[in-house]
Symmetry: C2
Subunit: 576 residues, 2 copies
């Protein structure tokens, strides 16, 4: 039923694209047409027009579309020979190209009003069946996605059954736009990207760096508590090392070109694993020493086409919250369970929910032994069950070197845990067993946050920039009502700072309302407004960034509350 509904909706959206094309034709009789499919939530059509469209053109096109819809003209289908079709589309070069590529003897055409299109269909009966729609945007699109072909103008629209559904969707888009980490990143002065330095390379501004540092410190402390060791490894290494590992062979497209030093080729590291292996191999290990867990906030560089780069969430350099566990196979279940526990702890701390867990099994091409794969996959499955986590199996979607677990969220890639049967044998990463023999270790790659860049993108959108108090770059803004209250404001600022609270006093000669407005725009959790009454009573009037006012309270009790909220990594702003 749902699927039939969605099929109906898709047909309607496709028809809406035709109606838009008809509307465009009525405005630009010389228009040449590309393709016009239905897409998720709507449709687009690619046009070759005598002039560039602007968003101001969209209402006119919309109103022409409304006329066509009101006229309720039928869609009619006709099958013709390719020869006839070519005659009909003689002045439509893109359509001619499409006709030439259709293998069948005949092609189908759809007509509605004055607009005839080459189209496989199906379509709705008549234009009146089109529901609620809106044109959203215009973008350039190369004909057939080929940058050597002409650039067409693609007009995007959305269409739904009802006005309510449309309104809901537009509202969602609006909300998403407000939460867009690229927009908020600029407004809150968190980070920047610079064409001069190179696309996809993130510069963390002071306020973004505060958030990053807090997360990094929290991450490191939590890892140390759980028996990880922090390490640091260099950002470059000899290419030969990456040939031995197989990365040069398997991931070459993502690797940067080599640099040469004294006749040796080096590359900037795409992963941290090899450095950790070298550290492990510096000394000999006995079964008693395992597991060893090396964790590093390691910055790696991978090539991505400039076309796919996107704010912080798709970049060319990023800092993974990486760790590698070297253990015995009989320790693997405990280790994976431990990582899952840590992952779910982080997920909870940052207030994420609605995840899906996938266990990905052996793909067609794989390294290692089938039996070992099966055992390891079973081990992952047991660890999930033990942690009480439900999961789906993603058959054949493991990495070539081992099975993996992914915990996925909307808008956040989430933790990943991968077993590796490849590197231990390539680098002979081993330990002496109780039997006195050398055994290869079981090696686990894992990230919990993914990368600091992508995780910040997720966090910004997750919190819509209103970070919980423990993460907020500025936690409290002291706002003196008049200049004579500035000394008191400075005193509170200093006392809060002294207790590790990121406080500022707004000393500018402006109205209180303006200062409150600015603090709200900067999404500062608490504003402490202080005037005569507060100075006399040693109190503060607290305002939340939501606008909510909390009764005046002793400064000492505010300080105690905010410190408790920070220490507990509280999600809300209510003070006890």
């Amino acid at each position: 039923m749902a699927s039939k509904d969605s099929e109906k909706l898709e047909i309607m959206r496709h028809s809406a694209a035709h109606v838009m094309a008809e509307a465009v034709l009525s405005i630009f009789p010389e228009a040449k047409f590309g393709i016009g499919p239905a897409i998720e939530n709507g449709f687009y059509y690619d046009f070759d027009l005598p002039r560039s469209l602007t968003v101001d053109d969209l209402p006119l096109i919309e109103s022409k579309m409304r006329e066509i819809i009101a006229a309720n003209v039928p869609f009619t289908r006709e099958e013709v020979t390719k020869k006839k079709a070519k005659a009909l589309f003689a002045d439509q070069p893109y359509k001619l190209e499409l006709i030439d590529e259709i293998p069948d003897a005949k092609v189908s055409l759809y007509q509605e009003g004055k607009f005839l299109d080459l189209c496989r269909g199906p379509h709705i009966g008549s234009t009146g069946e089109i529901g609620a729609f809106k044109l959203l945007s215009i973008a350039g699109a190369y004909w057939r996605g080929d940058e050597k072909r002409p650039m067409l103008q693609r007009v995007y629209g959305v269409a739904f059954d009802t006005e309510e559904a449309l309104a809901e969707h537009l509202n969602k888009l609006d909300e998403a736009a407000k939460r867009d980490h690229r927009k908020l990143g600029k407004e809150l002065d968190l980070f920047s990207l610079h064409e001069e330095a190179g696309p996809g390379l993130v510069h963390w501004h002071p306020k973004g760096a505060v958030i990053r540092r807090i997360i990094e410190d929290f991450w490191k402390d939590e890892h140390i508590k759980r028996g990880y060791d922090i390490v640091y490894t260099p950002h470059i290494a000899k290419l030969n090392l990456w040939k031995t590992s197989g990365h040069w062979e398997f991931y070459r497209d993502y690797l940067y070109s080599p640099m040469e030093v004294e006749g040796q080729e080096y590359i900037i590291k795409p992963m941290n694993c090899l450095g950790h292996i070298l550290i492990y191999k510096t000394s000999h290990h006995s079964y008693r020493e395992l597991p060893l867990r090396y964790a590093e906030l390691g910055t790696v560089y991978r090539y991505e086409r400039s076309g796919v780069l996107h704010g912080l969430s798709r970049v060319r350099g990023f800092t993974q919250d990486d760790a590698h566990i070297f253990c015995r196979f009989d320790q693997l279940e405990d280790e994976v369970a431990g990582v899952l526990d840590l992952a779910m702890f982080m997920v909870d701390t940052f207030g994420f929910s609605d995840y899906q867990i996938f266990l990905s099994t052996r793909p067609e091409k794989y390294a290692g032994d089938t039996k070992v794969w099966e055992e390891a996959t079973d081990t992952l499955s047991r660890a999930l069950t033990r942690q009480g986590l439900e999961y789906s199996v993603d058959p054949g979607e493991g990495v070539f070197y081992g099975p993996k677990i992914d915990i996925k969220f909307e808008g956040w890639q989430g933790p990943t845990i991968q077993v590796d049967f490849n590197l231990p044998s390539r680098f002979d990463v081993s330990y002496t067993g109780e039997d006195g023999q050398e055994h290869l270790v079981a090696m686990v790659h894992r990230t919990v946050l993914g990368s600091m860049e992508r995780f910040l993108a997720s966090l910004i959108e997750h919190y819509a920039g209103a970070f919980p108090v423990w993460l907020a770059p500025v936690q409290a803004m002291v706002i003196p009502i008049a200049d004579r209250h500035l000394d008191y404001a400075r005193k509170l600022e200093a006392e809060l700072k002294n207790d590790g609270v990121r406080a500022e006093a707004d000393a500018r000669s402006e109205t209180v309302n303006l200062k409150i407005r600015r603090a709200q725009l900067n999404k500062i959790p608490y504003m402490l407004v202080v005037g005569d009454k507060e100075v006399q009573a040693s109190t503060v009037s607290v305002r939340l960034r939501s606008g909510e006012k909390i009764d005046s309270q002793p400064f000492a009790s505010f300080k105690k509350s905010i410190k408790a909220a920070i220490a507990s990594r509280s999600a809300g702003l209510q003070l006890d």
Copy 2:
């Protein structure tokens, strides 16, 4: 007088080289001789011998030398024509080559006993005048330092006036060898370098990384207290940016070769300044916002010849404790004074002393205006005076872009503060003044520790690996006397860890003495030995790594003391 003494000593050392050559000739009649000069504290001679020497050969050579010295044979000088010299040295190819290169018509020869050498002199009167000496080591050395010429065997010795002076020097060498950070780094498992990854690229092991993290956290906290903002910038940037800055032109020999991304050249960053400039320039700044102080623990990569690489102190990749201050010229004195204050605070915290401060002035080739140079140099000088710091002027030793202050220590390069007149104008780094006009900022580059790598090298040697308790990778080792005391030991370990103390319990089934010995070798500040008495009384028997025993004390009071020692970054281990 001192200079005359040292000249005499140098002549004696040079003569000792001849005596060593004579001794070698008596053992290897077919020996070919290279050169044999005096050097600091001693001498060497390069030999081409029928077999490789080992350190076991040194006592034999020494005893031959002692015979020659006891015989007290005279050194005699003779001047001969080059032709005659060539006849005399017909079977000494290296000497023949040297003779050919002497521009004079005649050359001077020195004879002592059976050994005749081509030598400018002067020498002592007779071999009996040679004081106390010792041969130390053998190394390979290419003839004339040219790796395409034969590899000779260089034997190093030291020589002094008296046995006491020699003993003192040998003792110093011994101490330095024990403190050598490369040796201690391995013994204490702090870091490693790997030929497979590339020379000069440091891998920080868990224990070294603990020290690094503590220092980094301390550094960041202290910077934030002093009004710095932490930032993060990428490790690669387009080459063009480094052309604009002038680095490509001025420091090309230290830069890595470019990598290519989508037709653009990128290099791995040799400095952090450009990233900080890009962040500064992201928004417009008014005079009211200055100073801005951007600090970054930024890892940079610079090419160094493999021959000069040395442990952690000369590497190819290192993490600078970098900061750039953007201020008005009228703020420069305060800012420099602030950096000096921070620098001296760090110097004190790590227990360094015996420094020399240099103010380096305008070199012959320089960027910027002479008058601005003079004003800035005066400003640096005023800041030094204001901080009560004595300094020497190093004329003409400033960087081309501005004057600088260096605080230098034996074995540690120390803090550096540099004013930069070059980058602000190249990148138009400006602010709007009170006059409404745009002005270039005064820019300061500064590091306090230098780099994490080099600083750790200095710290290891400074503390001889016995780090003060706040820096020690393991702060307390709990040592159970028998297995029945293990539970109590584990309990103390857990309680200490819970309070942030890096404690371990040594659970191995070994003797207490062995456990103590191992903890001492690992230079762990405190050993808590626990047996029946301690379990019953909830006490610990404290031993220091020096071997000193402290009376048994309640565990609670030990915990309080060690926490206080850590919090105060105490240099000593005595508990109050």
